[in-house]
Subunit: 124 residues, 2 copies
C-alpha cells in the first residue's frame, strides 16, 4: 500500500484499523518491552495492519497518558537511545478485556458477510 494511495480498498482498510491497532500494539508488548520502530516493523510484516510513524507514536502517547504502558530509556549501539514500552497492570487488563471482546465482534462480522449467500443448493 503506497503512501498517498486513496483507492476504496485503502480507505476501507484504513477505517478498519480504528480501535484495533491499539490492542495489537498492546499484544506485541505482552512478552517483552518493545520500542517504536520495532512495533512499526512488526505491524508492517503482518501486512493488513501496516501503518506509519504518524500513527504509532501518537498512539503510544495515548497509551502512556492512560497508564496502559510504562516506558524506560535504553541506549542503542546503532543510533539514538530507544524508548521501550512495557505493559502496566492496567494495560494487561485492557488487553485481556479486548481478547474477550474480539471473538464476538469478529464472529458477528463474519456472520453478516457470509449470511444468506445465494447458495445454488438453497431451495427454501
Amino acid at each position: 500500500m503506497e503512501p498517498g494511495d486513496s483507492t476504496k480498498q485503502a480507505r476501507a482498510a484504513a477505517q478498519l484499523r480504528k480501535g484495533v491497532l491499539e490492542y495489537c500494539v498492546l499484544a506485541l508488548m505482552r512478552d517483552r518491552p518493545r520500542y517504536g520502530v520495532e512495533l512499526l516493523h512488526a505491524l508492517g510484516e503482518s501486512g493488513a495492519l501496516a501503518t506509519g510513524q504518524g500513527t504509532v507514536y501518537p498512539l503510544l502517547s495515548r497509551l502512556r497518558r492512560d497508564d496502559l504502558v510504562a516506558t524506560t530509556w535504553q541506549e542503542s549501539a546503532s543510533g539514538p537511545p530507544r524508548r521501550y514500552y512495557a505493559l502496566t497492570d492496567s494495560g494487561r487488563a485492557a488487553l485481556d478485556e479486548f481478547t474477550r471482546v474480539w471473538p464476538g465482534f469478529r464472529d458477528a462480522v463474519d456472520a453478516f458477510l457470509t449470511a444468506s449467500p445465494p447458495s445454488p443448493g438453497d431451495h427454501s
Copy 2:
C-alpha cells in the same frame, strides 16, 4: 450494552465498529432492500454490533451520498412511510471488495492476539 455505559469494554467495542459498520449494513441489504429501523434491529440482534439511530442514519446518508445505495419510499400500515435502501452496483462492488479484504484483516488481528502464548508445551 446500556446507553451511557462508559466502561472500558464499551469504549473498546465502540472503536471497533468504526469502518466495519458501514459494510455490515451493506451486507444486510444484499438480498433485499431494508429500511432504517429494520437495519437497526438486525444489528442489535447480533449483539456485538448493536448501535443507535444517531449512528445508522448519518451512515445511511453517507452511503446515499456516495451512490452505494438507492432509496425508495414505501407506505407502512403501522406508522409513517419507510425509506427502503437497496444496493447499487457500486455498493455491491464495495461490499465484494470488503469481503475480500476482511479475512486478511481478521486473521492478522487473531495472529497478534494469539501469538506467543506461554504455552506449557513450548520448550524453545
